[in-house]
Amino acid sequence: MKAFVLYGTTSGNAEFLSQFVQSGLEGAGYEVVRKNVKDADVADLMNFDLVVLGSSTWDGPKQEGLSMKEQSAHVQGRLQVDMRAFVEKMDGIDLHQKPVAVFGVGHYSYTYTCNAANLLEEAVKKANGKLIVETFRVTDVPDLSVDAIETWASSIYI
């Protein structure tokens, strides 16, 4: 079984954690290709049996006079910039119920922590992908989540 781990990283946390997603999957017998999403092509998704998408969450500049919901929709709690571009390119493709897993990276002190995970879930559903495992949300310093995310990855069966 071939798995494709794609991460969108800015400060390095999502990339750091993706290594443990890879080792978890390899432990479960997958052959894994791990890539920074900025170097990936949407068409590549079809070449794998499982796709794992991970992204950190970023706030844009606050806009005065918007409600929290509007902030969330427009500027706050966005996908990491490279993942944002990739998801835009996913618009209109059909994943034909391909198994997909999602992990989000954030920190509990931010208002929209891990909102990237929600946005990735939406994008997968829209592209007719199949979320096969509960999304993993990292909401503390990444080092504390290393074992947990590796265990999560090793438990992904398709």
Binding site: T10, S11, N13, F16, D59, G60, P61, V81, S109, Y110
Partner: protein, 359 residues
């Protein structure tokens, strides 16, 4: 107090004694350390900042916009792991003060993994102010000097043209020397004015659609007398099709003229100057190759700096303000273009101007 804690205290005192601001952030974007200098410059209290996101320190402006957190230079450093030093940013404080800063940002790496960055910065408002005063002074002084120099040119040409009666051979010779000295003086003053104008940030491009082949052709024909005097062979390889580009015609002409006249000046008589115009998708390039004296690697690194004159056998004979290439580079950059240089001592030099067609 043991030795190691004494050392830690010493380090803390060093950092706290700095007038410059210094802070560190981790990969979650939280401020892990900030010194007194930074708190003072940004008008903050330590307890309001430690453990908070670095976006709560201040907003960062790149000269055009307030940047979203993910585009802060600190994250660029985390991604590339390459330190940056820049005066392109300003910090906007909570009380809306805009502080132009010189920042140096370096990644902190433990076991080959970036764990955060250290950012040092200082307020350069005073330097900016002095720089502006200097620019204004050059502009004012050059204007004041240019007016009488232009007057001299006018009367000298009247005399040369015989409006004051027939001149003796010696008188004519002296008058010509005076005329050329005055021309050189005006050239330097115009360069200084251009630099002052470019550095004021008020330089606006007037773009129109032009044909690049034609622009280069005109530049060559305007230098024809100069070329013939030096017995140079000029080859022009035009692009087979016209290249239409949105450019400030006068400014790009200035750039091309500068390279053509330099090629003539620095190529010994009988040498060859080759110009080429080529199309390349969204961009085009103009290259100027001479069989002149060439420029050393050290010379190339200084070539585009203000007032730089490269040492070579001809530079003492050839006059100039040392501003021509600086102005050319600035004008090309205003068009979002670049200039490349390849040179070999004793063999010649190629300058390539690469410009986007869209201006």
């Amino acid at each position: 107090m043991n030795k190691s804690s004494r050392t830690a205290l010493e380090y803390k005192i060093i950092l706290e004694s700095l007038i410059d601001g210094l802070y560190t952030i981790d990969t979650n974007g939280f401020v892990t350390y900030i010194n007194d200098g930074a708190l003072k410059l940004l008008g903050l209290r330590r307890e309001d900042i430690i453990g908070k996101s670095c976006t709560s320190l201040c907003e960062v402006n790149d000269g055009k916009n307030i940047l979203a957190a993910e585009f802060h230079p600190v994250y660029e450093v985390l991604q590339t792991r390459v330190s940056i030093s820049s005066d392109a940013y300003s910090f906007v404080t909570h009380d809306k003060r805009n502080i132009p800063v010189f920042v140096s940002i370096s990644p902190m790496i433990i076991n080959d993994r970036p764990v955060g960055v250290v950012c040092a910065f200082r307020d350069i408002a005073r330097e900016r102010e002095i720089d502006e005063l200097k620019t204004n002074f050059i502009s004012l002084a050059s204007h004041q000097l240019r007016t009488p120099a232009t007057g001299v040119k006018f009367y000298l040409s009247m005399m040369r043209d015989g409006y004051a009666g027939e001149l003796a051979v010696k008188q004519k010779e002296f008058l010509n020397q005076a005329y050329y000295s005055n021309e050189r003086q005006l050239g330097v003053l115009n360069d200084l004015l251009d630099v002052a104008h470019l550095e004021s940030g008020k330089y606006e491009l007037q773009t129109t659609e032009i044909d690049v082949n034609e622009l280069v052709e005109k530049s060559i024909s305007d230098h024809q007398t100069f070329i013939e005097t030096n017995n140079h062979l000029v080859i022009f390889n035009r692009n087979p099709q016209p290249i239409k580009a949105q450019l400030d015609c006068a400014k790009i002409r200035m750039v091309v003229d500068n390279f053509v006249s330099n090629a003539i000046k620095y190529t010994p008589p009988g040498g060859t100057i080759t110009l080429e115009v080529r199309d390349s998708l969204d961009t085009f390039y103009i290259s100027i190759t001479d069989t002149g004296v060439g420029i050393s690697t050290e010379g190339i690194s200084k070539l585009f700096q203000k007032f730089s004159r490269v040492d070579n056998p001809l530079s003492t004979k050839v006059g100039g303000s040392g501003l021509g290439l600086y102005i050319a580079k600035k004008l090309v950059e205003l068009h979002n273009g670049t200039i490349e240089v390849h040179s070999e001592l004793g063999k010649g030099t190629t300058f390539t101007i690469i410009l986007p067609k869209g201006g």
